[in-house]
Symmetry: C2
Subunit: 326 residues, 2 copies
């Protein structure tokens, strides 16, 4: 059995059995059916050992994350996840490792109704490339470019936790002063991000723009304001803060985690005044925390962070030694 | 400019501008339109340095090949190529190298009408993962599993050349006795394979089964007979032989190149008796060489190579030190 067959075997009889898969793994290509009224949504992400994850990460966490980061991109478009291709490069044949990895990939795919439709296994330094495909009603996809002056800026979850989790994972256990609960909560946000799939779909038609946070709130927000051609004010006092990050990081250092942490996989989205009530109602169904953190203004794409109504001059971008900053 | 932006820039204003790309590079995901009467065809292939290509390969050849091997999978399904995602991992930032690579990718994509819809650039040991997507009329895709006893077996091109080309590339120039013409012809088959895109599409409705040859004729034929549940006789005297391979390899060694060489990216296909005339007519339009090399028989999936009507006992499979054999 090849390694890819081993991965595929974990999908047999799992939630991945979609009727729109006309031909799955085992031929030169997969054959898929896209409903007439829908557009196809496609995203690709690569995770490289030592760049996007620590080399000693568990195969279970890695399998989850590789899927989650791709589903997060689909969520930011408001798409329903459908199919996934998986290309994995492995330094050697470790069947236990691959078994745990594939099992984890199957679990998260089953949870989100995603079918594994193909892929490739090759020998080499550990890396994973996934291409995720989703479906969205035509003309309903959320883009980065739709925010307008006057729209409110929202974020799901509590950005910053994942970055602190990474630091704790890189710190010798004996030097960690946080409680086990705090440490676990922060590390889990790094290792097991939750793609905001249901929230993303429920925001279609309500949010005017959306993007997921992978490189840090400010950096991804900058993409949104540039594409939307307006400014935004981020009110630092309104940034959501988890109890774990509050317990782990001193007050004066908190902002850089929240604004530039990265690896959050939360959604940033813009909401016109008239849709705020509908957004409240829609998101309450999903038990996803969400917070209004600012407002869009006329301008040329600038992001301003304020405290007490005054702009902060500190620069947070580029604080990212672990991730590749391309 | 990030490296991926550099790649994407080469596609601006090129043949890649398809009307079915509703949203291309630059958001969280691409948005694509699939015609109602068509199925989506998806394939993923990874090329790793030192496994699938020589580390010193030119970026131009690598760009061509990375696209070609994926289009070859689409061709084997009879699909029209449409969109491609490109994930590239690079050890360092060499703009000249990337420029040549991207230029070559753009050239071949433009030639085949393919649009680059997204991707990712990461830092690490050189490897490329491409996901190619195509379109095919519903129920018209060619599969591996449709061959029936009595069908004739055909192959395009002259398998074996690419493998000899690889050996010549690995041989010091001073030790090569072949003429420059012979050497160039064989090396070119390895470095610049031609995906049989038009031939594949013209075989739809005529061929009963098809597969592309990437791991060697016998190995890929074995996939077809297993999926189709019948035997096949390959008549060794009928195997097509290029003038270059004839000049480069002694008669008694030729068969192993033709049968087990790999990296050919030719099509193997099955044709029912009543469609032979139509296949002749269809393929003559495309100036693609094609040869009938055997016939399917009742059985359980066995591949038999004969010479003078007698089965040959030699084993060719597994002769593949360069490629990953998974």
């Amino acid at each position: 059995m090849t390694e890819f067959e081993l991965i595929a075997r974990h999908f047999a009889g799992r939630g991945a059995g979609r009727k729109d898969v006309l031909l799955g793994i085992g031929d030169d290509a997969a054959l898929l059916e896209v409903p007439e009224s829908h557009a196809l949504v496609v995203t690709t992400d690569t995770l490289v050992s030592g760049v996007h994850f620590l080399p000693d990460v568990s195969p279970h966490a890695l399998g989850h994350k590789a899927v989650a980061v791709n589903l997060s991109d689909l969520a930011a478009m408001g798409a329903e996840p459908a199919w996934m291709s998986l290309a994995i490069t492995l330094p050697d044949s470790r069947h236990d490792w691959l078994d745990a990895f594939a099992h984890s990939v199957a679990d998260i795919c089953e949870y989100y109704g995603v079918s594994l439709i193909g892929g490739d296994t090759t020998r080499g330094p550990l890396s994973i490339t996934m291409t995720a495909q989703g479906l969205v009603q035509k003309d309903k996809a959320m883009k980065r470019s739709g925010a307008k002056p006057g729209d409110w800026l929202y974020v799901t979850g509590t950005p910053g936790d994942a970055r602190r989790g990474l630091e704790l994972l890189q710190t010798p256990r004996a030097e960690i002063t946080e409680s086990a609960d705090v440490r676990d909560a922060l590390e889990k946000r790094l290792l097991y991000p939750t793609p905001r799939v249901a929230a993303g779909q429920s925001l279609k038609g309500l949010a005017s723009a959306a993007i997921d946070i992978s490189d840090g709130l400010l950096q991804d927000l900058q993409h949104m304001t540039s594409a939307s051609r307006c400014d935004v004010e981020v009110i630092s006092e309104q940034l959501p803060l988890s109890a774990a990050l509050k317990a782990s990081v001193p007050d004066h250092q908190r902002l850089k985690y929240q604004l530039a942490g990265g690896d959050d996989y939360e959604l940033l989205f813009a909401v016109p005044e008239e849709s705020r009530g509908s957004v409240d109602t829609a998101l309450q169904h999903f038990a996803v925390p969400f917070t209004c953190i600012g407002r869009f203004k006329p301008g040329r794409g600038e992001v301003v962070v304020t405290c007490g109504g005054e702009p902060l001059s500190e620069q947070w971008q580029g604080w990212d030694p672990f991730r590749d900053n391309d």
